[in-house]
């Protein structure tokens, strides 16, 4: 056959404006026929230089920036940053503030995974039905965020030393009403997709990341767990009292796109468990400690990390006793999870490359910052 059909490799751009790239993200794929022989990513379309801007603002003024890095999980980003400042300045959060943070971070994980799992189903060809189911539930979470913080997407709810305001009346009922339909939607989504022949053909054994490569390439979050490494910062390095809650770490065994999808669905169930436990044991007392507005942490450095929906989100702060951070660095899980993009895509078809990209669940605002 090869003697008859001759093909030459050529460069094809996937993105930057294409729904399958989930933002302004471009892959320069060299293809030979339908087969990808090389893939190079081009990023920076959304670069806003937040790290530079943050060096010129006070610690409190920087919290809204963190909303806008990973815009699908602003609560988690707020939390990671506030934890880093608290570590740097030695500030304690009251128990109620910690429990509220846990509830918000887990609701945010649910919202983000709704988007991630739904968009992944879209990429594999399960056109619009699963994503609409998940978006319906995500809408309820955004309503809960709106009643709590006043904003749906860029919540800006966490503060250094706690949260901005206490939970509104009726919060607990709203969350409890939401849990059962969410469970049902996860079951529906899994029932529709996990045994579906087309979905299996598209996702099973596609974009495989062996666990040695996953560790060596600094992957984190569902990417790492999908490859069979049971590493979750909530368990390994608990923050905000995660050690009090009972939950499991789901892992995959093959490290393919399908496993990552299933890991995300299972994580959503675990998040619901954590939310229920946190609501049951919600302590009283203040929601925040008093922190001076012009905070000047002692000179030094701090690295704090959380398990964001996409993986290990770290904030590295250096203080020179000034009112603004001397160095503000975000460890973006979306960017670092792209380290294996070439390994995942080369050798497969173009359609598989789209599935591989969807299974990483990137947010371009966080890649470019």
């Amino acid at each position: 056959m090869n003697d008859v059909v001759q093909s030459e490799p050529f460069v094809m751009n996937i993105g930057p404006q294409h729904p399958s790239t989930h933002g302004v993200f471009r892959v320069k794929a060299t293809v030979d026929g339908e087969r990808v022989v090389d893939a190079e990513m081009v990023i920076g379309y959304l670069h806003r230089s937040m790290e530079k801007l943050a060096e010129e603002r006070t610690y409190t003024q920087n919290i809204p920036f963190t909303d806008r890095t990973d815009y699908l999980s602003s609560m988690s980003n707020n939390l990671g940053y506030c934890l880093a400042v608290e570590k740097l300045a030695g500030i304690e959060t009251p128990p109620r503030g910690q429990a509220i943070r846990v509830i918000m971070a887990e609701l945010q994980r649910l919202a983000s995974h709704c988007m991630g799992a739904g968009a992944f189903a879209n990429d594999t060809g399960a056109w619009q039905t699963p994503i609409m189911w998940f978006m319906r539930e995500r809408e309820k979470i955004l309503d809960i965020f709106e009643m709590t913080s006043g904003a749906r997407l860029t919540c800006n709810y966490m503060r250094i030393g706690g949260v901005a305001f206490d939970l509104p009346p009726g919060f607990e009922e709203r969350v409890r009403e939401f849990i059962a339909p969410m469970r049902q939607t996860i079951a529906d989504g899994e029932g529709l997709l996990s045994g579906n022949e087309i979905f299996l053909a598209r996702a099973r054994d596609v974009a495989v990341v062996p666990h040695e490569l996953a560790i060596n390439a600094s992957l984190s979050g569902p990417m790492l767990r999908g490859s069979g490494v049971a590493w979750d910062i909530r368990k390994a390095d608990p923050y905000c009292g995660y050690e009090q809650y009972e939950f499991d770490i789901p892992i995959g065994y093959r490290g393919d796109a399908y496993d990552r999808f299933i890991v995300r669905l299972e994580e959503m169930r675990q998040s619901l468990r954590i939310v229920e436990q946190a609501l049951d044991g919600l302590p009283g007392g203040p929601h925040s400690t008093e922190v001076p507005l012009a905070l000047r942490p002692p000179a030094g450095e701090a690295y704090a990390r959380i398990e964001s929906p996409r993986g290990e989100l770290g904030y590295y702060l250096v203080s020179d006793e000034g009112p603004s951070p001397y160095r503000f660095h975000i460890r973006p899980p979306s960017l670092i999870n792209l380290s294996v993009l070439r390994e995942m895509t080369v050798g497969g078809s173009i359609a598989d490359a789209i599935v591989a990209l969807g299974s990483i669940d990137i947010v371009v605002g966080e890649i470019d910052r």
Binding site: K52, E56, A217, S218, A236, Y303, P323, Y326
Partner: protein, 174 residues
């Protein structure tokens, strides 16, 4: 709970594995000599006691007369994390060896540090700007790169360039 390696203790382990590898050790971090850094980090990765299989975070810090590259490395099995640092010799042509052959995860993070700080990572397979475009003037995260034209800082009534080095240029009005 993840335990942090004490810098002095880690320096002892590094010295045992690769003699002459440590430049300075503090409580928070262990500073490696640039010329032995790759060898040392590989030894620390493969050693059973340290087992730093996962490079968590890599970033650079501007220290006015030099740059510092910070590595946060961890062992997933032992659940321990450590902070290691390498300093560049000067500010004019900063360079440190690349650790991409030790950890693949360093690839993108080193490219980012090259882009925003102008630190050359020697041995990096494809060192080029990733966030900004080729030909962009300067490296924005350097402290002498001023955020706005004229050196005026947004929101602050003070000229940044007015303060002499090594005083950081950005200070709000008291």
């Amino acid at each position: 709970m993840t335990r942090w390696w004490d810098g002095v203790e880690l320096a002892r382990v590094a010295e045992r594995l690769v003699p002459g590898s440590v430049a300075r050790a503090e409580a928070g971090a262990c500073l490696l000599r640039p010329e032995r850094a790759v060898e040392t980090l590989r030894a620390l990765r493969d050693d059973a006691e340290t087992d730093f299989a996962h490079l968590t975070n890599l970033c650079a810090v501007d220290l006015w007369d030099r740059f510092e590259v910070v590595y946060h490395v961890q062992s997933l099995v032992r659940n321990r994390i450590a902070c290691l640092k390498v300093e560049t010799a000067d500010r004019e042509s900063p360079a440190v060896p690349s650790v991409t052959e030790v950890w693949q995860g360093a690839w993108l993070q080193e490219s980012e540090a090259y882009d925003l700080f102008g630190i050359r990572f020697e041995g990096h397979p494809n060192l080029q700007r990733i966030l900004l475009w080729d030909g962009y003037p300067g490296h924005p995260l350097r402290k002498d790169f001023l955020a706005m034209p004229g050196g005026l800082q947004p929101g602050l009534n003070e000229f940044a360039g007015a303060a002499p080095r090594p005083e950081p240029p950005v200070r709000p009005v008291p």
